[in-house]
């Protein structure tokens, strides 16, 4: 079988996008984190779940993107993602996993705060904050993954080199902002 992967192609396709994201994460990302850090000092108990939250949302969208790009390469989905039944099965499967994952994260955060730190926090408020921001971020990242893969495949590039950096960068930014917004709305109200 002919060799499919060449280092020169992987590097040529990946490096520009990785470097542009670096600039982005160094300036925007850092400012966001600092602002967020100052903000959550009012709610120190929430810090423990932020890295998990961001990584989980990124993980769901990346699994989705990985599945879609494999299906595109195998020809199980055409360039316009038809048949939609397969696409929606993947999406529903991941949405259910995300729902379970974020519910478990809410419970863990609640448990650690109540049993280890003795901090009283409403489980319902945690559910709303984590589930709403988590599901919204995951859906946005999956949508971005579909869009990026669509554009990249049309340009005859390998979507596996493009989807992870773009969706995780966008997801981190939107996820963090949404968390801050919901914490402000619900816990400061």
């Amino acid at each position: 079988m002919a060799q499919m992967y060449k280092m020169s192609r992987i590097v040529r396709e990946s490096l520009p996008i990785l470097l542009s994201i670096l600039g982005f994460s160094l300036f925007t990302g850092h400012n966001l984190e600092t602002a967020f850090g100052i903000f959550v000092t009012q709610f120190p108990f929430l810090i423990i779940m932020v890295p998990a939250f961001i990584n989980m949302a990124g993980g769901f969208a990346s699994v989705f993107a990985a599945r879609i790009t494999s299906r595109l390469l195998l020809g199980e989905l055409d360039r316009k993602y038809r048949p939609y039944g397969i696409l929606f099965s993947d999406l529903i499967g991941l949405a259910l996993v995300a729902l379970t994952g974020f519910m478990v994260l809410s419970l863990i955060t609640f448990g650690i705060n109540v049993f280890f730190f003795g901090i009283e926090v409403s489980l319902f408020a945690l559910f709303v904050i984590i589930l709403v921001s988590g599901i919204f971020t995951t859906i946005l990242m999956c949508g971005t993954g579909l869009f990026v893969a669509y554009v990249v495949v049309r340009k005859k590039l390998d979507p596996d080199n493009f989807t992870p950096p773009i969706i995780t960068t966008l997801g981190d930014a939107v996820g963090t902002l949404l968390l801050v917004f919901l914490i402000r709305m619900i816990l400061l109200a």
Binding site: M4, S14, S25, G29, M56, V63, T69, L73, L96, D160
Partner: protein, 195 residues
Amino acid sequence: MGVDYSIIKKIYREVTPFVILTALAEIGAGALLTGLTDFYAILPGLILLLPGLMEARGNISASLGQRLGSAIHLGVIDWKLGFNDDLKENVKSSLFLGFVVAFVLACLAFFVSSLIGLSGLSLLGFILIALLTAFLSGITQIAITVLVALYSAHKGLDPDNITIPVLATLGDVFTVLYLLIVVRTIVWASTFLPI
């Protein structure tokens, strides 16, 4: 438009356990990160280096994981084919990208920290820390990605479902751990070397 329930069931069964593990491991990584606060006091510029380093490593490994998933589905890479040329090119690219990105990030972090007046580390120090961490976490994450992708497919699981959640669980923990070790070593070495 027929939704295929077997696909939904397979995704749910294969992905959920790892996602819950990710949540637990990340909370552990968060605790580990607080170990870095001492170093932020000695080397404030590190706060510019760590998030970028973790993100870049995660992205490079996730791309590798996705490429391996696709390649396994296409039959180009397989447990039985072993370390063939396609797999070698993937591994080499991932390691090389990690080095280039770490080097650029170290330079950027140095200039930004000089600009905003965060002192404590020379350009050489930044580059050494970034490259050593990139090397250690690169090797570890590549090994995890390759083994998990190939082995899960060998066991009849879908590598697209398994590889990325496992990486997300272990990747950050290793990167933070290595960074702690490397920073400790560099700080120690700087007492007798001109870093």
